[in-house]
């Protein structure tokens, strides 16, 4: 989900529930053929040296 601005108001946008057969096929091919283990961004966040405060809620 995300927001968009339509006629002066904020509207929610959801990911599609169904896709056209062509898009579905392309998405499946993308899923099958994309190697995430060697993604160039993997392991790079630490290089920014920015601390992340996740809070300490106990509930």
């Amino acid at each position: 989900m995300a927001y968009k601005w339509e006629n002066g108001k904020v509207v929610r946008v959801s990911l599609p529930k169904t896709l056209s057969p062509e898009t579905e096929k392309a998405l499946e091919e993308y899923w099958q053929n994309t190697d995430v283990t060697n993604h160039p961004w993997k392991g790079t966040f630490k290089n920014f040296g920015i601390k992340v405060n996740y809070g300490n809620r106990k509930d």
Binding site: A2, E24, V36, I50
Partner: protein, 155 residues
């Protein structure tokens, strides 16, 4: 400088981080919606700040695409003064946030629950912005459904 995870927010206090940093009312309203969703437990927000000065924030939530679990970016806001700057290891704030989600947050989620994609809805569906993200994010993929365009990244 640090990132703070926020799951409940006092709205006026949060807006103070970004005093005079909105380009227009539209941006303020979009952020306001994210803050309300955060207080309703629909979103988490990650705020990048330097002491009391907000640099940007990103709101995330879960969604589904064709029955696959997806982490969706609800809204990515960068303070006006930081928009064109490349100051985080030469990266813009928007790129920094997407890298943060991909390399930090999604890793934590993946260790505990299944997730297939990170999804981004380009603001205003602007063609230039869509192409910018597709070029910026390695291995990203564009889907178009009716009029809406989303950018996905397999995680």
């Amino acid at each position: 400088m640090e990132i703070e995870k926020i799951d409940k927010v006092v709205i006026p206090n949060f807006l103070d981080y970004f005093k005079d940093e909105f380009q227009n009312e539209r941006e303020r309203e979009l952020l306001l919606n994210l803050l309300k969703d955060c207080n309703n437990k629909k979103s988490y927000i990650y705020l990048l700040k330097d002491k009391n000065k907000g640099i940007g924030c990103i709101g995330i939530t879960f969604d589904r695409l064709m029955d696959s679990p997806v982490l969706s970016i609800e809204y990515l806001f960068v303070a006006k003064s930081y928009r064109k700057l490349k100051f985080l290891n030469g990266k813009k704030v928007s790129e920094f946030f997407i890298r943060f989600l991909f390399d930090e947050i999604i890793l934590k989620i993946k260790n505990n629950a299944p997730i297939r994609y990170l999804a981004l809805y380009p603001d205003r569906q602007n063609e230039k912005l869509i192409n910018y993200y597709l070029k910026l994010i390695p291995n990203s993929f564009k889907i178009k459904d009716k009029k809406e365009i989303w950018i996905l990244l397999k995680v």
